[in-house]
Symmetry: C2
Subunit: 366 residues, 2 copies
């Protein structure tokens, strides 16, 4: 049986701009091949940096392009942790970021996530009890793994808290543009006027992950340290792919492409929500995100997601178990479902399989 | 005055396959776009890994593709230094590798370089005086920065030494295919039957640096640790560019492209050698490499390369001063000249400027 995957956050093949991107590569090399095929500056291909700076209304000196935004997270985390910063993360939190913090030996404190984002009472208390530099890492919009979004009043409050306590915020926003319902919310970075907030984003979800182009908007005084890290890792990022992406962006294809992705994701989410309501037994709960890739399921009767996962392959469905997203434990009875990859019909079938798995497990437990 | 650069090891724009690479990108996406634009496996695009494995006669499991070969050096060095290995480097040695070792806090010992590569008497003595794991890092062919090549008898002796002392060799070979004169020499990796030697190479010099595709051939048991490092840095390398490069390689363009580069480099080296002989005062010495990007100049009368460099910009010429390539000091009166970037006529003019600079400095010193 072909497995239906709700596991990693991959876009479906139908959401990738395959034909046009090839055209853009050819045009980019015809236009600027000598630059695109040689070594370039450590912070990236200048026209693309300018395009990004322009969209965010910041000086180009603050923009660093990296091989995916996780690379920027790695560099920034390394810099701050070596500078003695304690790191506050959401619980649950993106598993790859947690893994980097673990490897760095960072001092990490988990802040629970409520339905509308980070629990700010808990954060306030934790910040008050902390001396020294602090970094607050958050994915405020369509969070990975939970799909949850920080409400607008809470965005203001988070900024106030951080300001009052001298904490630096690291806002990771790969999904913000993928809103397919509801009202858009301002980024923390915007609300803060670009001050006290470092911003990460990526073209993985708005164009394609296989191009590995992410970026960070940072205080200018960090750029020296970032350049050194670039020189010690990959000399310069991939000029060829950045020039191709710039061609894609400058000919006006970026926004229509995002709209097409939004449509595709909306249909997938709708299929998943409908199937969950139909197939999952009473006592199961999940959220209905207005964008992004993921939703978060709490299983009924304290079922173990890990035990379910052990049988999931046999019935042809895949997901990530909750505990993978917690630094200090938790999520035993939860799972992350990505609705980004499979088409609606496959999602329907996959959730049917998942529902059977859960009902069977409940029956055994009873 | 436009500066003529013999500084960084960039290929000239005329040595880049600008038109064809654009065609290949288009064809690669038409053929395998869904794979090329999505996340991929941490060790790289499988068809390209297989092509590399095939050329080197190794199982594909031993091949890791990275964003340029320096990224692989970084990962390998990290792994070995954290495992307690002492690292032996050539003096002079590639500056970016030294910088990585410095940052890692590695225990490093410099082994002098003679005209035909690493001084093996010195290495033998150093290895005999060392306990614990050791890594010998070498660029045996058209070395960066010196352009020197380890002779064939010395290749055998180096392998024997390493074997007798249980040292691991890390062979870095970005320039080996760029031989435009003389007889080819076997790689250390080949002579060793792939055993006890880790091998690094890159498509930066044989195709284009702006694609940032390098690779390592490693013992299979290292691959788990390498994959973890990939996941913590960039998730997967750039599938899009690797699929494009595979298209370029599989349609048979790789070898003809290398031949065209060899021709271009030969003309550049010839121009540089002729101009050096004409313009540099007696007492200056340099080597005449049969390939690669660089040659190494020893200045007359103990002139300081650093002082010369301070005036070089004014006369419109650029180079890298010797001391940048030494971990423990040295090279004060030496410089690296890259003949890879400028065209022969510009090389002639640049060396004329350099000759004037050196003669003026000698006159002041007299």
């Amino acid at each position: 049986m072909t497995s239906i995957s709700f596991a990693r956050g991959f876009p479906g093949p139908d959401l990738l701009p395959t034909d046009e991107f090839g055209e853009c590569a050819k045009a980019a090399l015809a236009r600027d091949g000598a630059t695109a095929l040689n070594y370039g500056p450590p912070l990236g291909y200048l026209p693309l940096r300018e395009w990004i700076a322009d969209r965010h209304g910041v000086p180009v000196q603050r923009v660093m392009i990296t091989n995916g935004s996780l690379q920027a997270f790695n560099f920034i985390a390394r810099h701050h942790v070596q500078g003695g910063a304690k790191v506050f993360v959401e619980a649950p939190c993106y598993d790859r970021s947690l893994q980097i913090l673990r490897r760095l030996g960072a001092e990490v404190e988990s802040i629970p996530l409520s339905d509308d984002g980070m629990d700010l009472d808990a954060l306030e208390e934790a910040l008050a009890a902390t001396e020294g530099p602090t970094l607050v890492y958050t994915i405020p919009t369509f969070q990975n793994p939970s799909g949850r979004t920080l409400s607008e009043p809470n965005r203001h409050r988070l900024l106030e808290l951080a300001r009052a306590r001298g904490a630096t915020i690291l806002e990771d926003d790969p999904y913000g543009l993928l809103r397919f319902a509801g009202e858009g919310l301002p980024r923390l970075f915007e609300l803060a006027g670009g001050d006290g907030v470092m911003f990460l984003s990526s073209f993985s979800k708005t164009v394609a992950p296989g191009i590995r182009v992410g970026y960070a908007i940072l205080p200018e005084e960090l750029m020296g340290a970032m350049q050194t890290l670039v020189f010690e890792n990959y000399v310069s990022p991939v000029m060829f792919v950045e020039a191709t992406l710039y061609e894609f962006a400058s000919r006006g294809s970026f926004d229509p492409n995002v709209e097409a992705i939004q449509e595709g994701l909306r249909a997938r989410r709708d299929a998943m929500i409908a199937a969950l309501a139909r197939e999952l037994p009473e006592g199961t709960s999940w959220n209905e995100p207005d964008g992004g890739y993921f939703l978060w399921v709490e299983l009924p009767g304290g079922l173990s997601a890990e035990s379910l996962l052990a049988q999931a392959d046999d019935v042809g469905v895949a997901f990530i178990k909750g505990p993978d997203f917690f630094f200090h434990g938790g999520g035993e009875s939860a799972m992350r479902l990505a609705f980004s990859y499979e088409r609606p019909e496959a999602i329907d079938e996959g959730i049917t399989r998942l529902g059977r798995l859960v009902r069977d497990a409940l029956a055994v437990a009873a």
